[in-house]
């Protein structure tokens, strides 16, 4: 139906659009990567070169061994890991119950949970700071991770309930006839079928918790405990000792884990990002 020349014109137009989009989204990021390989003289070169003269890893070596970045990365890893496990423990049974039980006030409870997702963590962290400082529980990973878990729970419960809804209820009935109680039914019959959904949710929890800033920024003031997000701001503010090329290397290191997950597991992420909002 469409003539060939019209098709070629459309293709050329689209490729131009693609190039513009790619430039806008890639240039700031690639510039950061480029700087992270540059030496100090290259840093002050004018006009600047897009690519570094050579890819040496001196900046990375410096940042990893001479600054506290390594410790920040380790802290983030611990926090994120415990957050993932903790959030699953709290959310899987609840999501199963919201999907399979009928009880009074279920709809209201679900809506209330969704409402919490809309609240800025800043609002809840203010009284928690006051409260935890009175209990002497600031700079404490237990209370910190508890808040991390709470922040991701609303979204995790909603998503996993959505995935469990897609498993036919006949399966639960068959498991019950086979003598499974509800807990066994959930663990052995239903959850194995929604593993891809759980993986999507876990990825989102990892990315969100890795990026979490307000909660540790306020609840921690011992820099030895900082996760990477707060650690970077800390490095940035002590700008005398760290110049741009070091900061760039540190930022690339901070992005690397989640970016890697993103590139490898893109399929899951797209499904998780759209699940809640499109299906409702």
């Amino acid at each position: 139906m469409i003539s060939k020349s019209a098709k070629i014109r459309a293709s050329i137009g689209l490729y131009l659009v693609y190039i513009l989009i790619s430039l806008f989204f890639l240039l700031p990021f690639l510039w950061l990567v480029s700087l992270s390989f540059k030496t100090v003289p290259e840093l002050f070169q004018s006009p600047p070169k897009l690519l570094p003269n050579q890819f040496n890893f001196d900046n990375y070596r410096y940042v990893l061994w001479k600054t506290d970045i390594f410790g920040y990365l380790k802290n983030s890893l611990i926090i994120v890991l415990v957050t993932v496990i903790g959030s699953l423990i709290f959310c899987l049974p609840a999501a199963y119950a919201f999907s399979r039980f009928n009880f009074k006030g279920k709809k209201m409870t679900m809506l209330a949970i969704l409402f919490f997702q809309m609240i800025s963590p800043l609002i809840v962290v203010i009284p928690l700071y006051k409260y935890l400082s009175r209990l002497g529980m600031l700079n404490n990973y237990g209370s910190l991770i508890f808040v991390y878990i709470a922040v991701v729970l609303p979204f995790a419960v909603w998503s996993i309930k959505g995935y469990i809804d897609t498993v036919p209820k006949e399966l639960d009935e068959a498991a019950a006839i086979d003598g499974c109680n509800k807990f066994q039914t959930m663990c052995m019959a239903v959850l194995p079928l929604v593993v891809p959904g759980i993986v999507s949710v876990v990825i989102l929890v990892v990315v969100k918790s890795w990026a979490q800033f307000i909660v540790p920024f306020i609840l921690l003031n011992d820099s030895a405990l900082y996760p990477i997000s707060v650690g970077l701001v800390n490095l940035q503010s002590t700008a005398d000792s760290i110049t741009t090329h070091y900061l760039a290397a540190a930022a690339v290191i901070g992005i690397f884990p989640t970016l890697l997950i993103f590139v490898i597991l893109q399929r899951f992420i797209v499904s998780a990002m759209t699940a809640g909002a499109v299906k409702g």
Partner: protein
């Protein structure tokens, strides 16, 4: 619900499993402690003259009275409004445009559609703090800054990015669009994928131009996805804190100080818990309003389906 046969070996586990209470109680407890209680506390603090460190306080309306009589609040609200409005328009329009370009490219079987999709989604995996760092480095105003030198090359000199009030806000908005377009794009994209090809072909047969097809067929079909998208963008942008913190820290002056940042500064820099909580309460009200809108649109799109 199916009634299971009574189990002769009625253990603790199966007894617990009968009602929903035990299944959701841990979740509800966590949410009560970390969301419900603090939310009420913030509202309570906003009616006090409490300081962050002190123990004693008394109840007063002075926080709100001070806020309303202080010209700084109008400055903050205006900055926040400009920031949110242009960020949301930018994210939504750009996200939709990219999604349309990708879907069109897929129809024409072009190469590179997957690449564009991945590139657009990239920012989503980057922590907000680091997005601030990226843009701060990108917007270096010295001769060795990449954007500055590119603008020099085409004859534009004396540009300011983050050092003057007006341009700093514009740059913050652009950085935020860079950050938030990923979600808009992927939502629009999956919305576009649900439109049946028959409808689009019918429009073609009726002789509709591509523009008419977009306005009269495509957009109405994804209107509910778009509305939800807009609301999510509004909520995310109002709550933005991390990126602004590392990009401008609210400056220069307080030209990029958005509501969340003001609340933070009042409490943790000026130690003024009462007044900061009043700002946080305003943010909470906005969050609540947007959540209500979100529910309304979710319900409406649920009825359509």
């Amino acid at each position: 619900m199916l009634q299971t046969a009574p189990n002769p070996k009625k253990g603790v586990v199966s007894r617990l499993a009968q009602g929903p209470v035990y299944w959701i109680a841990p979740l509800i407890l966590v949410l009560l402690v970390t969301f419900v209680y603090p939310t009420f506390e913030v509202i309570r603090y906003s009616f006090t003259d409490a300081s962050l460190t002190g123990k004693d306080y008394s109840y007063t309306f002075s926080s709100f009275i001070n806020i309303l009589s202080d010209s700084q609040v109008y400055q903050t609200l205006w900055t926040t409004f400009v920031f949110v409005f242009f960020s949301v328009v930018g994210q939504t329009v750009l996200g939709l445009a990219i999604a349309l370009a990708i879907v069109k490219g897929e129809e024409l079987k072009l190469r590179g559609t997957v690449f564009v999709r991945v590139v657009t989604l990239l920012a989503w995996a980057i922590p907000g703090v680091i997005i601030g760092v990226i843009w701060k480095i990108f917007l270096n105003e010295s001769e060795s800054g990449i954007l500055t030198s590119m603008l020099h090359a085409v004859g534009i000199t004396n540009v300011t990015f983050l050092t003057s009030a007006g341009s700093a806000l514009v740059c913050t908005i652009i950085a935020n669009i860079w950050r938030g377009t990923a979600q808009s794009m992927i939502l629009s994209y999956s919305g576009l994928k649900t439109i049946s090809r028959d409808v689009l072909e019918a429009a073609d047969i009726d002789g509709a131009s591509s523009w008419q097809r977009l306005i009269h067929v495509t957009l109405p079909s994804i209107s509910s996805v778009l509305s939800i998208n807009v609301i999510l963008n509004i909520i995310n942008t109002f709550n933005t804190f991390d990126m602004v913190m590392s990009l401008t820290s609210g400056g220069p002056g307080n030209s990029t100080e958005v509501l969340a940042l003001t609340a933070y500064n009042q409490i943790f820099v000026h130690m003024n818990l009462g007044s900061g909580s009043a700002y946080a309460t305003i943010l909470l009200l906005i969050n609540g309003l947007m959540a209500a809108l979100y529910f309304w649109f979710l319900r409406r799109s649920g009825e359509d389906a």
